[in-house]
C-alpha cells in the first residue's frame, strides 16, 4: 500500500489531487501536514480539509516526512514555498507529486531537481498531458502524417471571474523578476496557466526552447491590476530546430465562453496541419430554458479558483456544450503511481518541469524588457 502525505490542503489543488489518490486502491492517505510557521489562514484551510477527509493533521512537518508509512508527498503549497518544501520532502526520501508550476524561481526549481537526483526518488508535476487533446496530438505526431513539425500553437484561457473591471487603456508594465504569484483574488496567469501549454509543448515536441519573447497584460480584472500581476500572457518561442511555438494563457471571465474556456492546439507540419479543440466533438444544446448565469462573488475566492470556493456559492455547471466521453486515460495520480510501481521515470519529472520555469522566467524578463531572450 502506497502511503500519500498531503502537504497543504483546502484552497489548493490538493482539492483535486487528494480524491484521485483516495480513489486508487493502491493508496492510503496518511494525513495533512505543512510547515509549522504557515499563516493562520493556511493552517485553518489545512485543518478543515483534513477534517473533511477524516485525516489527522500532522503538525510536525519533519516528523510527518519521517514516517515510514509515507511514500509519496503530494505538495500543493504556495509557489513561493515550493522550492524548499519539495526539496525537504525529497531529502526525506519521499516521491514527489507536485502541483504546477514547479517553483517560483529558477534557483528553487534547480534545488528541487538536485534534491530529487540526490535522493533517487521519483517526481512528477501535474499538467494537462493526460487529456484527450494531448493524446490526440501525440498520436498525430507519432503517426508521421503531419510530416516534419513546423509550428505548434496553443490557447488555454479559463472562463472564470467577473471580467470587464480592469482599468482601461493602461498598457501593462512588467517587472523582473516577478516576486509574488498568488493572492486570494488573483494569480499571475502567464505563470499559472501558461505552464500547462509549455509543458504540453515540451511533452509533444521534446525540443528545448532557444528563444523567448513574451507580452503580459491586464485586460480583464481589477483584482489583478491591484496586485500588479497579469491576467493574460502571450509567449512566442523558437524551439530547437527552428520550430515556432506560441501560446496564449489567461483568465477571461465567466461569461466569455460556453464552457471552461478556449483550449485548443494547432499543429503545423510539412505535410498537413491539425487543429484540435478540447471541446470538439461536442453536443450543442440551445433551448427555451433559463440561461446560465455566473455565480455570486465569493469573497473568499472571488475568481472561482478552487472547487471548494465554487461550491460555497453554488456555482452551476454550464450546459450549452456537452463533450462526449473519450477513451479513458490514466489520471495524473494514477500515472505517477504506475511510475513508482514500475520503477520508471515520469514523463513530466521535476527536471522537465524546471525547464518550464526557466522558460517562464525568460518570458517575464522578455515582457519587462521588450527584448527577445536567448536560452
Amino acid at each position: 500500500m502506497i502511503g500519500v502525505l498531503l502537504v497543504a490542503g483546502g484552497r489548493t489543488h490538493q482539492e483535486n489531487f487528494a480524491p484521485l489518490f483516495a480513489a486508487d486502491p493502491r493508496c492510503r492517505l496518511i494525513g495533512v501536514t505543512d510547515e509549522s510557521d504557515v499563516p493562520p489562514e493556511r493552517a485553518r484551510w489545512n485543518g478543515r480539509f483534513a477534517g473533511e477527509l477524516g485525516l489527522p493533521v500532522l503538525a510536525d512537518f519533519d516528523q510527518a516526512l519521517a514516517r515510514p508509512d509515507v511514500h509519496v508527498a503530494s505538495i500543493c503549497v504556495e509557489p513561493e514555498r515550493r522550492g524548499r518544501v519539495a526539496a525537504r520532502a525529497a531529502r526525506a526520501g519521499k516521491h514527489l507529486f507536485l502541483d504546477k508550476p514547479l517553483a517560483a524561481s529558477v534557483e528553487d526549481a534547480r534545488n528541487i531537481v538536485a534534491a530529487v537526483a540526490q535522493a533517487g526518488v521519483r517526481s512528477h508535476m501535474d499538467t494537462l498531458v493526460r487529456t484527450p487533446l494531448a493524446d490526440q496530438a501525440r498520436r498525430a505526431l507519432a503517426s508521421g502524417r503531419l510530416g516534419e513539425l513546423r509550428a505548434i500553437h496553443c490557447d488555454l484561457l479559463f472562463a472564470k471571474g467577473r471580467a470587464g473591471t480592469a482599468p482601461p487603456g493602461r498598457p501593462r508594465r512588467e517587472h523582473f523578476p516577478p516576486r509574488s504569484f498568488t493572492f486570494v483574488d488573483s494569480k499571475r496567469e502567464m505563470y499559472t496557466t501558461g505552464v500547462y501549454s509549455l509543458a504540453l509543448i515540451s511533452w509533444l515536441t521534446r525540443r528545448p526552447p532557444r528563444r523567448v519573447w513574451a507580452v503580459t497584460a491586464n485586460y480583464f480584472f481589477a483584482e489583478h491590476a491591484r496586485h500588479d500581476v497579469e491576467d493574460f500572457g502571450l509567449i512566442a518561442l523558437t524551439l530547437e530546430g527552428g520550430v515556432t511555438a506560441t501560446l496564449t494563457a489567461g483568465r477571461i471571465g465567466w461569461s466569455s465562453d460556453p464552457l471552461a474556456g478556449p483550449n485548443r492546439l494547432l499543429l503545423v507540419g510539412s505535410r498537413a496541419s491539425l487543429l484540435l479543440d478540447a471541446y470538439r466533438p461536442r453536443l450543442e444544446i440551445y433551448a427555451d430554458e433559463p440561461p446560465w448565469t455566473p455565480p455570486a462573488i465569493n469573497p473568499g475566492d472571488p475568481m472561482g479558483f478552487w472547487k471548494s470556493g465554487q461550491m460555497e456559492v453554488n456555482t452551476k455547471p454550464k450546459q450549452s456544450w456537452i463533450v462526449p466521453p473519450s477513451p479513458e486515460l490514466p489520471t495524473e495520480a494514477g500515472y505517477f503511481l504506475n511510475c513508482i510501481e514500475g520503477n520508471r521515470e515520469s514523463d513530466m519529472p521535476a527536471a522537465r518541469a524546471a525547464e518550464g520555469i526557466e522558460v517562464l522566467m525568460a518570458a517575464y524578463r522578455s515582457a519587462a524588457t521588450g527584448q527577445v531572450v536567448e536560452l
Binding site: W213, A217, Y219, V268, Y286, Q371
Partner: protein, 164 residues
C-alpha cells in the same frame, strides 16, 4: 449577454463575391460591426489562424490582409511587430502590439491539406467573438503595407520592430 443569445455561437457574417468585397475586407467589417455594438467590450487580443492557399507566394499577402482587417478592430495604432517562422517553411506568425496594449497573434500557413482554415478568436474585456470558415479565396484585397513591411523586417532581423 442578451436573453436567448448563446455564448460562442458564431455570428452570421455575409461577405465575399456576392458583394465583390475581398474576403478579409468583408470579415473585417462584420467583426467591426459587432465591436461597434459593444458585444464583447473593448477588444484586447486577437488569435487567428489562416491556411488559405497552397502557394507560398501568397503567405505575405494573406498576412497583410489579415493584419489590415485586424488593425481596424483595435482602438489604437500598431506600435510593434514581432515575426516568427519563414516563407520557405510555409508558416509565418505575426505578433502585433498596439499602442493601447492590445495584442494580435496571427498565424498564416500554406494550405497543405484540405479544407482551408480561417479561424479567429477575438477576445474582448467582457466577452469573446469567434469565427470559423473554410473559404475559397478569390482575388487578393488590400493589405496593411506599413505593418507588412515591419513584419518583413522583423522576419529578417528575428527581432521586434517598431511600426512607423
Amino acid at each position: 449577454m442578451r436573453q436567448g443569445q448563446q455564448p460562442g455561437a458564431l455570428a452570421v457574417i455575409k461577405y465575399g463575391a456576392a458583394t465583390r468585397m475581398s474576403y478579409f475586407a468583408g470579415l473585417g467589417k462584420a467583426v467591426a460591426a459587432a465591436i461597434a455594438q459593444n458585444r464583447i467590450g473593448s477588444p484586447v487580443c486577437l488569435r487567428a489562424f489562416f491556411q488559405l492557399s497552397a502557394d507560398h507566394g501568397r503567405l505575405l499577402q494573406t498576412m497583410g490582409e489579415a493584419l489590415a482587417a485586424a488593425s481596424q478592430w483595435f482602438s489604437s495604432p500598431p506600435a510593434r511587430v514581432f515575426a516568427l517562422g519563414g516563407i520557405a517553411a510555409g508558416e509565418i506568425t505575426a505578433i502585433v502590439e498596439y499602442a493601447g496594449g492590445q495584442t494580435a497573434l496571427v498565424c498564416v500557413g500554406v494550405l497543405r491539406n484540405a479544407p482551408p482554415l480561417s479561424n479567429l478568436l477575438l477576445i474582448g474585456n467582457r466577452g469573446t467573438l469567434r469565427f470559423e470558415d473554410a473559404p475559397e479565396i478569390g482575388e487578393p484585397g488590400p493589405a496593411n503595407r506599413p505593418l507588412l513591411s515591419a513584419f518583413e523586417k522583423s522576419l529578417a532581423a528575428q527581432a521586434p520592430i517598431e511600426v512607423r
